[in-house]
Amino acid sequence: MTSSLLSVRNLTVEFATRDGVVPVIDDLSFDLAPGETLSLVGESGCGKTITALAVMGLIPSPPGRVAAGSISLAGEDLVQATDSRMREIRGNEVSMVFQEPMTSLNPVFTIGEQIGETLRRHQGLTRRQAQAQSVQMLDAVQIPLPGRRANDYPHQLSGGMRQRVMIAMALACRPKILIADEPTTALDVTVQAQIFDLMQALRKETEAAIILITHDMGSVAEMAERVVVMYAGRKIEEGQVDDILIRPRHPYTRGLIACVPHLLETVSSERPYLQEVPGMVPPLADFGFDGCMFAPRCDLVEESCWHKKPDVIQLTDSQSAACWNLQNSEVPVDG
C-alpha cells in the first residue's frame, strides 16, 4: 500500500474491567486508501466499533486507553494528537454515522441546526449561511422538501430519513473518511437499499473513503472493495471482497459466510441445514490469550492452536490470514 490515507499500525486498546486490564483491540493493523471502501466484519463484541472509536479519538477513558500503536491520518498520528486538535479533525476530516439514528440525534434541536453546528464550528459559517448549507445537504441526501424539513425535529422523521440526516451531517464538511457503524441495521431492506445507493453516490461525488462496519456479508459484497475480518479484537483475515467471498481462508470467515441463509438466485426444493459456528464470542476476560482466540469454536483446531497466537500470514498480494492451519483450510464454501 503506497499511498494510504489512514494507516493503523499495531493498535492495542485496553479496557480496565473487573477481571483486570484486557486488550479489546489486540495488535491491529490495516490501511485505507483515499476513496476506498473498507469493511470491518465480525460478530458483536469483536472490536469493530472500538476500532472506529479509536480512529475518532472517542475511546471512553477511563476505563479505556490506547495502549500501543499508531493511527496516522495523512501522516499525522492521531494517538498523540491533543484534544483540541482531535476536535478539529472530528466531523471535519473524519466523521462517523452511528448505528441508531434516533439516539444519536439531539431531540431538542431541529435537524437544520444540528447539521449547521458542524459547519459553523469547522468552517466558521454564520448561522444563516450554515442554515442555507444544511438545506443543500438535506437536498443532497434526497430528503423531499429540504427547506421545510430543516426545521423539523428528529422525532418528526422516519428511521430512514433520520439516517439520511446523520449522513448529511457527517458529510457536511466533506470529510476524507466517513466511518459508518452498522448504518442500516435498524432499517427495512428497501430503505437499506436507498441508503446504500446514496452512500455510493455521495462517495463518488465527495471522494471520501468509507469504513463500513457490519456483520452482514451481503452488505460487504454490495458496498466494499476490501474487507478486514475481526475476531475477539484481532484481525484474522484481510483481502479483496471478491477473493474473501469465494476463497475465505480462515475458518471463522468461512463460518461467518456459511452460517447466514443468503438469498439464492434460484430456489430448489432442497433445503440443507445451515452450517453452524458453535459457541459464541469469548467474554472480555479471555481476550489477549496467547493462542488462537477462535480455537474453542474451530472445527480444524489442533494442539498448536492453543499454545501460540497465530501470526498474520500474507497469502497473496492482497489476502492475508491468521491461522495455524491454513494449508488445510482451502475448502471452497458452498452456498
Partner: protein, 333 residues
Amino acid sequence: MADVAIETGTLLQMRDVEVCFSLKRSGLFAKPPLLRAVDGVSLSVGKGQTMGIVGESGSGKTTLVLAVARLVQVTGGQIDMNGVDLLGLSGEALRNERHNMQFIFQDPYSSLNPRLRAEKIVREPLDRLNIGSIRSRDERVRELFEQVGLRRDQLRLFPHQFSGGQRQRIGIARAIASNPSLVICDEPVSALDVGVQAQILNLLRRLQEQLGLTYVFISHDLGVIQHMCDDIAVMYMGKIVEQADRESLFNDPKHPYTRALLSAVPSADPNRRNRERRITIAGDPPNPINLPPGCRFASRCPLAEERCRVDTPQLGDVAQTHRVACHLVEKSN
C-alpha cells in the same frame, strides 16, 4: 379466495381477518380516525408447514399473528384452528385452546421474567394450563431443556446469566412445553448475533421435524424466510399483496413490491449481484391513516397506472399455489 372448507391438512384458516385500531380524536366531537392494521387477510396454513410472513415494519405482520393468538381485538373475519372457531372462544374455553398455540418472541431479553429461574419459566405454561401431573412436570422441564440444547445444570439459573442465544432457547422450550400444534415465531432471530442465528434456525427446523410443529414465521429478512418457509405471504400496509409457495415466490415473483423487496437485499452471491439492476422504490410507505383509494403500493410503484390509483386490486390466482393482488399481473382466470 375459493371457499375451501377445512380440508384435511389445514391447521389454521383465516378468512378476511381485520384488525382496526381507533386513534385519538382530533377534536371533542370529531370521529376517532381508524387505523386498519390488518385489512381483509385470508390465509390457510397447512399442518406441519411453515408459513412465512414478510413485509416492512408497519405492514401489519405482528398484528396479524397477535390476532391469531387472540392478543389483540379482532374487528372482523374468522379464524379457525383445527375446526375450532378461535374468535368465538372466551374465558375457560379460550384458555384451553391456548395450549395448542404458543408464541416465540423477538427479544429474548424482555420476553423472559428476570425474577424467575429458567426452569420456572419453562414450567409456567404447564402450571398455568394444568398439563400433566405436578410430579411429571419436573421431568418434562428437564426433557425440554435437553430438546432445545440447554444443560441440566442451567435449570436453576436466572435469565441474566444466559447469553442471547441461550435465552432464545429458553423461550423456545417454553413455547413447545404444552405440545402445541401451532408455534408463532415473531422475528425469532433478528435480535441475535449472526453466528447464533444459524444455531437457532437449525434448532427450530429440527424441532419441527421431531414434533411435527406448524410454524407461522415472521421475519423481515428474506434470506431467513427463504431458508425456513414452505409458503410465504408478502404483506404491505395491512394487506397481502402476494402469496405463494417457496419456489414460485422466489423464482418467479409477480408483484412489483415483492420484486423490489427481493432486489433490495444485498447479496453475497456474485451471480445475483451482477445480473440485475436494483429496482429501487422511493420514499416511505404512506401514512396508514386515511389511505387513498386504489392500490396501497401505487404511490411508490414504478409501474403504477391510472387504474391503480382508483381500484383496489383483489388477490387472484396466477397459478395453483400463487396469488397476487396487482392489476398489472395476468390472472389465470
